[in-house]
């Protein structure tokens, strides 16, 4: 980014057309807050405005695929619009629309109509932050986008102000979140000090020339911030508590959208580093190995703790931690396999395979998690419990709901024939690119899948094999919820039966904007001496 170069206003207006998805989301966010001035205590009006804004954002994101002119860098290179980011934005906005559906189903009747615009405004605000996260290529924008996504999420987690669990969950969320974002910010300041630029491409180019201790500490602190958003171990403590305390539609939103956006942001940064890697850059392999170990530990820890959970939201929270771990493990391969093990030739194709696999996984994960949470919502509405022991005899009382929920849980486990299986297969295929380290990762993934079978089958066991002692009556769940479940399961079946077509589709969208040619500022002599005379940082 060179601010001093001539930036003309016409260029900035032109750039605005390329970020139309975000523009529509921001417009809708503002309009939703103003809706009560037109019609007081109306839920339909702000809901309509929010849905319209989201649909316009979907269309804007889709239309950017129409012409090659709509892709590129905008705002002096601080945002990148590429197929990868636009694909995620389409998924994110569609997913947010479904979250609105879940909200109508579950919380609308319990929410004061005067609070509805606030909820919608916060949800749209978080969506703006997440869609900026996937486009960000600049530390400043990464920080602003992460905060824009986080702050509404804190408030959403405690949206039901009278619920004690909700307020406790949101307190933990905001404390953990602000601490980790402060540490991430401090890391960014150190990276800026070492590299002299905020662009991730510039930083990657500087790091390729040699990673100083200052930059290593800064990058590690930044990774801690990403780990918080992904709820990777050891920054995962907030996740189960927030997921349990928050309203279920917020839990679903956070478990998919927030983690997906953080994953995409990390992938973009890792890909930038991998593409800049020098032929003999073993330090870069170190970054990849660090991310891989983080992912392996996260997946294993999440699965082990999930084993003894009895609350369905907590169980799915730990399951989402382990899924984030799987994606992290694959993401690490982007750096490790970004350069081949012999010859030092860059394998740019490897990055695309990894990004495609993770994108496919995010799509599948979004639908299977949405399905599982929708089923849990419907069950909580009818049985009044989130405890899986309350699911006893469900196969008799509501066979359709039981079958659909079982499909989602089995897909989360990775049952062949459903999308989750192919998601894991493609992750493993991309891991195999990294040679020996990759096979270690595959072993960890398989081991974890085995562990997870136990806790995914636990609700299924209660639904099908434990008779209901209270003899509760049969029920038919609300039509809207059932329709959403059917959509989710049909997506899982489609991805399960036509995996190659959809995977090649995802890989087609996995085209990242290439690293621009960097003319990195030469390290100033004074800087070097000053940095070395500051041992307190090392």
């Amino acid at each position: 980014m060179n601010l001093a170069s001539e930036t003309r206003w016409e260029d900035l207006w032109g750039d605005l057309w390329m970020v139309m998805p975000e523009v529509w989301l921001v417009v809708a966010m503002c309009a939703v807050v103003l809706a009560p001035f037109i019609k007081r205590r109306s839920v339909a009006l702000p809901l309509g405005v929010a849905s319209a804004g989201l649909m316009l954002a979907v269309m804007a994101a889709l239309s950017s695929f129409a012409s090659a002119d709509a892709m590129g860098t905008v705002f002096t290179g601080s945002l990148v619009i590429d197929p990868f980011s636009q694909f995620f934005k389409v998924l994110l906005t569609l997913f947010t629309l479904m979250i609105l559906g879940l909200w109508i189903l579950h919380s609308r009747s319990q929410t004061d109509p005067a609070d509805a615009p606030d909820f919608l405004c916060l949800l749209l605000g978080a969506a703006v932050g997440m869609s900026l996260m996937v486009s960000a290529t600049n530390l400043l924008v990464i920080f602003i986008a992460t905060e824009t996504a986080s702050m509404p999420s804190y408030a959403l987690a405690g949206f039901r102000k009278r619920r004690r669990e909700g307020s406790e969950g949101s307190l933990k969320y905001v404390l953990f979140g602000s601490v980790s974002s402060a540490i991430m910010l401090y890391g960014m300041s150190l990276v800026y000090g070492a590299a002299g630029t905020l662009s991730i491409y510039g930083i990657a180019a500087q790091a390729a020339a040699g990673i100083s201790p200052l930059m290593a500490i800064g990058l590690a602190a930044m990774l801690a911030g990403f780990a918080f958003k992904l709820s990777a171990v050891p920054m995962h403590f907030w996740c189960p508590d927030v997921f349990q305390g928050a309203p279920i539609e917020v839990t679903t939103f956070l478990s998919v959208a927030s983690k997906g956006a953080a994953m995409c942001m990390l992938l973009r940064a890792l890909a930038a580093f991998a593409a800049a890697a020098p032929a003999n850059g073993y330090l870069f392999v170190g970054i990849g190995v660090a991310v891989g170990i983080l992912g392996a530990v996260t997946a294993t820890w999440g699965n082990l703790v999930a084993l003894h959970q009895t609350n369905i939201k907590r169980l799915l929270a730990y399951s989402s931690i382990s899924h984030a771990g799987y994606m992290l493990m694959a993401a690490s391969v982007a750096v490790i396999a970004g350069r081949s093990w012999e010859g030092g030739q860059h394998q740019t194709g490897a990055i695309q395979v990894v990004v495609g696999a993770v994108l496919f996984y995010i799509v599948v994960y979004a639908f299977m998690n949405l399905g599982a949470f929708t089923a849990a919502t419907l069950l909580a509405m009818h049985t009044g419990t989130e405890d899986i022991r309350g699911y006893a005899g469900l196969s008799r009382r509501s066979p359709w709901l039981a079958a659909l929920m079982t499909a989602c849980l089995l897909s989360l486990f990775g049952m062949p024939g459903l999308g989750g299986f192919w998601g894991k297969v493609f992750l493993m295929k991309s891991m195999a690119l990294a040679g020996g380290a990759g096979f270690a990762l595959i072993a960890v993934l398989l081991f974890n899948t085995l562990i997870s079978l136990y806790y995914y089958l636990k609700p299924v066991y209660y639904m099908y094999f434990v008779p209901d002692e209270d003899e509760r009556p049969a029920f038919l769940p609300a039509g809207g919820g059932l329709a959403m479940l059917v959509i989710c399961v049909s997506v899982l079946l489609a991805t399960g039966l036509l995996p190659n077509r959809i995977e090649s589709l995802a890989r087609g969208y996995a085209t990242l904007y290439p690293n621009p040619v960097i003319t990195a500022p030469p390290p100033l002599e004074t800087t070097v001496s000053l940095l070395e005379s500051a041992p307190a940082h090392d």
Binding site: N2, L3, R164, S167, A182, S189, G196, H308
Partner: protein, 113 residues
């Protein structure tokens, strides 16, 4: 001619910010009061802000076609975002106080497992 130790340079700023970060992290780790933790967070945020301005001024002030202002710009955003974050966090702490009549984070253990 002033004494060399009085010639304020990057190192002095870095010493200040390192002290601030250490104090902030110590506060975060030892305080049980939610407000105390937020004060620790503010210390870390301000350390980062001073770092950015200092690095910008002493190390990276010369851009290609004029003065580079990335670090200074970043700091302006940090000031705004820190205020926003404090507002959200204090609202949540207040709501927690309404429900539990306490802001002691050690008592926030009704969700666990």
């Amino acid at each position: 001619m002033t004494h060399p130790a009085l010639d304020i340079g990057l190192t002095h700023y870095l010493l200040v910010t390192t002290t601030l970060v250490a104090a902030g992290i110590a506060t975060i780790l030892t305080k049980r009061n939610a407000i105390g933790i937020l004060i620790g967070v503010e210390l870390v945020l301000n350390a980062a802000a001073i770092n950015l301005v200092a690095y910008n001024h002493f190390a990276w002030s010369a851009g290609k076609g004029g003065p580079a202002i990335e670090g200074v710009m970043f700091t302006a955003f940090i000031i705004v975002l820190a205020a926003a974050e404090a507002a959200v966090a204090l609202a949540i702490v207040l709501n927690y106080y309404n429900n539990f009549s306490s802001v002691d984070v050690d008592q926030a253990d009704s969700l666990s497992g």
